[in-house]
């Protein structure tokens, strides 16, 4: 029977088969599609046979993976053909080509309904099958009553009724409201008395679906289910054709036991007894047989019985029986049974009484960790992870570590995370924990995320007994010829803090420590160099009395990096260099890190959160947690060149940045005399994650923490103004005062597209921008206001990582009274709130003027207004359910404003408020489309719920199809709500890093005085 009965179709399929390569196949397919298309166009000439043939061809082409973007109409129209052959084709092809969300299906509803309520049995079957396979909500609403009627009709034959049962199941899944519980529960119970096994099987599936949602109404089904199970298990009254390899319908048995698992318990003692009898029979009576299919079928039933026993809280004896069975299974050769044995044993861990019995199988489970089948290895890992506790942690973790070196890449990350968590949770002693993590880094450094080594630092810092041991271990690893960069980081950090505790051991003098760490420097990345520099500074500090030789070596390193291209490294080098010249004063500033506050391990949280554990997602989460600090200060926390996502930050990077920002703010406020006591906490208030932990204390511990940074910013002016990325250029700014408030100008430009960005007595920088999609074109107008030329004009763009920016050439000289236009092309790669900075300088006479200006290429420029109707909004809103696509936050400290003003603000940000969508008049619902290269156009929806009684807080929910976008947009809107520039704003609240107002010269020249003032 090799021919399809349609010659044209067979010929086409043969042609395709004869194609030598993909290209030929494509040509043949294109030709056929062209042919079909023309034939469909002049439809009049088509016989039903031809139409049928072409629709089949379309399906075949579609199956091969080609886009078939026409002919859906023809397929759908065949549904209402009067004759069976055409109708059948129409139904089958439509249900293959379209999915439930396809528009054409709406057209089909009527035809389908007509066939369902019609008298023709075969047509009914076709229609029920289509609705059951691809019916959506609309199908559910319009067809459910008719389908229910068919299912319970006594005049319908089983072939129709079993289809009706599954069709109803689908419609119920699409919209549970279509089944009226009150009326249906009795009917459902009646259906379980059905004699026809086909109808009974389908009805049982329906029951499973109903009770999975709500079991309350269906208690009367329980005894019936038990009856069915008894009947099947005893093989009473089961027609021959419904036994499968001698087993009475294993599928019906499985489904019945599944349904029972949705009821919390079986209370009636008689029913319960019968049920346990059946279960006992299944547990004991299932033997391994030769025939694969019989074996599979009987074990399918057995595993379902195990699940039911577990669910029913059987006596301990029966549970132990189950574990014993599973123990047998995990040792058999048959891979399926072994896999399922492991899987079900993991489920069994929930039963407290049997955990000890499971532990007896540990050796066997560890063997499975080395199975050639990754599916089995995964199960074994999961089980080991689940059964680990203090008693066996050492063995299990050591096994995991051993396995790590040979494990496939797909599993290493999960493996190392799990090993790290177990080591932390169940460590019998902390030195063992440190050993484990260091081994982990050594063996699989690439898969050890930053949180894991941060956690080690956390523990070591908090446990003094551990410090010498950890330092010694770190020292030992450094002796290895090639070590992972993460190992360099953690060793350098630990040795910086604690190497002085080792001083008397051989090979641990400050100089030797420095040398061995310094050896690694040429091979590591920027973020690690930053840590190494901190370590050097600490080593210097701990070397008392100072070792001149070492000192000069380290100073040489510092001075080398003072001209490093990376601003962070450069700043550290400059600051540490200057600090270390201070001699004993260094002690106060670089003192040991204080202890971390105790809290739940972020690793465990991470493992709990990220079920699917994509690295990307967890990174976003990490970041979200990290920046979850007080909304009011978020904007002030942005580093000027804030390009790096926080996840990449080196160990001590953030505190310095934020402290620098903050101390600049302190200086400012100090200078203005507005505030003398500044709460040093906000920017780095403890954030709920580990990174925050490690970084936090510098800021929290006010004196120790804030000091180095403030000294540093104090020094900036004196050392090398140009080298500093963060602090404003005080000296020059002193000489040339800007006209107007730069921050205000920036904020104004964030909302409009042209205006003045900067102005001083000599130059005015105007800006005009055009935005479209994810691109923008900004023109900078550099206007010379005076009658002599401005020389050495330089404009440098410091783009954040999410923007691609190209500035055309800027002339060196601007002639007197002339204006120069410099176009700047902007492309938005991904959602981010980071801000681009224009580093602009020129010379007036001999005086160098340098300003760093934020460019208004901000997130809202890549938004385009779109207003959505209720029909469009709600499905979207619902489909984006929960984090990370939908985020909610209560924002406090909102600048109080009337609702209308808030609506205006939203509109001005291109977030178009859609009135009337939210019934509560105190809520605002807004929508917009965001454009970037990575997300393309993406719809974003925002809802803010305000409290008329308290205008300073509101609840905001943001949803979009991209987790980063949702997060960034939420933060962005939050910033707008809490940080709207008002003319009378106190200087403290302004973004300090661009604040042109500078501290009085005395503060700059005398860091000591400044320090004293701060303390």
């Amino acid at each position: 029977m090799a021919l399809s009965g349609m010659r044209g179709l067979s010929v086409f399929i043969s042609d395709i088969r004869n194609c030598q390569n993909k290209e030929q196949e494509r040509l043949r397919v294109d030709k056929e599609l062209g042919n079909v298309r023309t034939r469909f166009k002049n439809e009049k000439g088509l016989t039903p046979y031809e139409k049928k043939k072409y629709v089949w061809k379309m399906l075949y082409i579609y199956m091969l993976g080609y886009d078939v973007d026409f002919g859906h109409m023809e397929a759908v129209s065949l549904l209402s053909a009067p004759k069976y052959p055409e109708k059948q084709v129409g139904y089958i092809v439509t249900s293959c080509l379209l999915n439930e969300n396809h528009d054409f299906l709406r057209i089909a509803i009527n035809a389908v309904r007509n066939d369902i309520i019609g008298r023709n049995e075969t047509f009914q079957c076709l229609a029920l099958t289509l609705a059951g396979n691809i019916g959506g909500r609309e199908f559910a609403e319009s067809l459910a009553p008719d389908v229910q009627k068919l299912l319970i009709s006594s005049s319908c034959r089983p072939l129709v009724r079993k289809k009706a049962a599954l069709c109803l199941l689908r419609l119920y899944r699409k919209n549970p409201d279509v089944v009226n519980v009150d009326g249906w529960s009795d009917r459902m119970a009646q259906l379980l008395d059905e004699r026809d096994m086909g109808v009974l099987t389908s009805s049982m599936s329906l029951l499973v679906s109903l009770v999975s949602n709500n079991h309350e109404a269906y208690w009367s089904c329980v005894p019936k289910c038990v009856k069915i199970l008894e009947r099947l298990a005893r093989n009473q009254d089961v027609p021959q054709e419904y036994t499968y390899y001698g087993i009475p319908s294993p599928w019906l048995q499985v489904k019945t036991m599944r349904a029972l698992q949705y009821f919390p318990t079986v209370e009636d003692p008689n029913t319960r007894r019968s049920l346990f009898e059946v279960l006992q029979r299944i547990l004991m009576g299932t033997d391994v047989v030769k025939n694969v299919n019989k074996n599979n079928a009987s074990h399918a039933v057995l595993f379902e019985a195990l699940a039911l026993v577990m669910h029913l809280d059987a006596e301990k004896e029966m549970m132990s029986q189950c574990v014993a069975l599973l123990g047998k299974f995990i040792a058999v050769r048959e891979p399926n049974i072994r896999y399922l044995g492991l899987e079900n044993m993991t489920r069994m861990l929930m039963v407290a009484e049997v955990q000890d019995i499971i532990k007896r199988h540990q050796a066997q489970i560890i063997t499975s960790l080395k199975d050639p089948d990754i599916s089995i290895r995964r199960r074994a890992l999961d089980l080991l992870y689940g059964m680990c506790d203090v008693s066996n942690a050492k063995d299990i973790v050591e096994e995991l570590l051993q396995y790590l070196t040979t494990a496939d890449f797909a599993m290493r990350e999960e493996l190392s995370l799990k090993a790290a968590i177990l080591a932390e949770k169940f460590a019998p002693d902390l030195s063992w924990y440190v050993d484990v993590i260091l081994q982990l880094i050594d063996k699989a450094g690439d898969f050890v995320s930053d949180d894991i080594w941060f956690r080690v630092v956390h523990f070591v810092t908090n446990n003094e007994d551990l410090q010498p041991y950890a330092a010694l271990k770190a020292r030992e690893y450094l002796d290895k010829p090639a070590i992972h960069e993460t190992m360099v980081k953690v060793s350098a950090y630990l040795l910086g803090e604690y190497s002085h505790l080792l001083a008397r051991r051989p090979g641990c003098s400050p100089k030797e420590i420095f040398n061995i760490i310094h050896e690694k420097l040429p091979t590591v990345s920027i973020s690690t160099i930053a840590i190494l520099l901190s370590t050097y500074a600490k080593i210097l500090m701990h070397t008392q009395p100072p070792d001149r030789d070492l000192q000069s070596q380290i100073w040489a390193v510092f001075s080398k990096y003072e001209s490093c291209i990376d601003a962070e490294i450069q700043q550290r080098a400059v600051e540490y260099h200057a600090l270390s010249m201070k001699g004993a004063a260094l002690m106060d500033i670089l003192a040991e890190m204080p202890k971390f506050p105790e809290r739940q391990s972020p690793l465990i949280k991470k493992a709990e959160d990220s079920e699917a554990d994509t690295a990307e997602q967890s990174a976003i989460k990490l970041r979200a947690q990290q920046q979850n600090s007080n909304a009011l200060v978020v904007t002030d926390q942005r580093p000027t060149n804030g390009a790096q996502p926080a996840g990449q930050l080196g160990l001590v990077k953030v505190p310095i940045l934020s402290n620098a920002d903050q101390s600049a703010a302190e200086i400012v406020s100090h200078a203005n005399g507005a505030l003398t006591v500044v709460d040093p906490q906000p920017p780095s208030t403890p954030s709920p994650d580990l990174l925050g932990d490690l970084l936090g204390p510098l800021a929290i511990e006010g004196p120790t923490g804030a000091a180095p940074a403030s000294v540093a910013s104090g020094l900036e002016g004196g050392v090398d103004a140009d080298a500093l990325a963060i602090a404003p250029i005080e000296e020059q700014a002193n000489a040339v005062q800007p006209i107007g408030d730069i921050a205000e100008r920036f904020h104004a430009l964030c909302l409009k597209d042209s205006g003045v960005l900067y102005e001083d007595p000599y130059i005015q920088i105007g800006l005009k921008a055009e935005w479209g999609g994810h691109r923008g074109r900004v023109v900078l107008f550099l206007g010379n206001k005076i009658t002599s030329p401005l020389n050495s004009v330089q404009a440098l763009i410091l783009p954040p990582s999410h923007l691609k920016m190209e500035l055309s050439l800027v002339p060196e000289t601007i002639p007197p009274r002339a204006q120069v236009q410099c176009p700047l092309e902007v492309m938005n790669l991904q959602p981010s709130r980071d801000i681009a900075v224009l580093d602009f300088s020129y010379k007036f006479g001999t005086q160098l003027v340098n300003v760093k200006l934020r460019l208004p290429a901000v997130l809202n420029k890549f938004l385009q207004p779109i207003s959505v109707s209720a029909e469009e909004f709600f499905p979207q809103w619902r489909s984006l359910s929960g984090p990370p696509l939908k985020l909610q936050e209560v924002v406090r400290g909102v600048r109080p404003m009337p609702l209308a003003e808030m609506a205006n603000l939203f509109n001005s940000l291109n977030l178009i408020v859609c009135p009337g969508l939210d019934p509560n008049p105190n809520n605002l619902v807004a929508s917009t489309t965001f454009y970037s290269e990575s997300t393309r156009a993406m719809l974003c929806l925002i809802r803010t719920e305000t409290d008329p009684a308290d205008r300073t807080q509101l609840r905001m929910t943001v949803a979009s199809g991209d987790p980063t976008l949702t997060y960034e947009l939420k933060e962005f809107v939050k910033e707008q709500l809490v940080n709207i520039p008002v003319p009378s704003r106190p200087p403290l609240a302004m973004p300090s890093h661009i604040q042109p107002t500078s501290p009085p010269p005395s503060a700059i020249s005398d860091p000591g005085a400044l320090l004293a003032g701060l303390l």
Partner: protein, 161 residues
């Protein structure tokens, strides 16, 4: 529930697809690509289950064809494995010792059969005999219609002679 059924040849050619959960065309293509990569490369004698994106794919190889069904994580894997076998047995009975070629040239018949076994991703009929009877009835309906048609066109042809 079964989210989709795939029949893929050893060369990675798709022989049948049936989707019970809504996937767009793009997702469908991606799933097929991903799964053929995972499943076709698995060594023989491993277990018949692959964990994939939070779902499980139960598959079994028959000669040159892989039959795959994707189910939820807590579904009963062996039950699904035997649904596959049930399907194969029915195809075998229908075509008389089925081979890949039968399914290529009569792919539409494979769809008819599948529709009698599964609806909404759930097993509809576990009796091979019943399925065979229903398919035979459908075939005869088509045959009858064809005969009628040819007799009508004969009549017309003769009348217009």
């Amino acid at each position: 529930m079964i989210h989709f059924v795939l029949l893929i040849s050893r060369q990675g050619k798709v022989r049948l697809t049936k989707w019970y959960s809504p996937y767009t065309q793009k997702e469908r293509t991606k799933i097929i690509r991903e799964l053929s990569g995972t499943i076709l490369t698995r060594a023989p004698k491993l277990c018949n289950f692959v964990e994939w994106r939070g779902f499980k794919v139960v598959y079994k190889r028959y000669a040159s064809l892989y039959f795959c069904m994707c189910v939820d994580q807590d579904d009963n894997e062996l039950e699904i494995l035997e649904i596959i076998h049930h399907f194969v047995e029915i195809l075998d009975r229908y075509f008389g010792s089925v081979c890949e070629l039968d399914l290529i040239f009569n792919f539409h018949k494979a769809y008819f059969v599948l529709d009698e076994i599964l609806i909404a991703g759930e097993l509809q009929e576990s009796s091979k005999k019943t399925v065979a009877r229903l398919i035979a009835a459908q075939d005869s309906l088509v045959e009858v219609a064809k005969e009628q048609e040819s007799s009508i066109s004969n009549i017309i042809a003769q009348a217009t002679k």
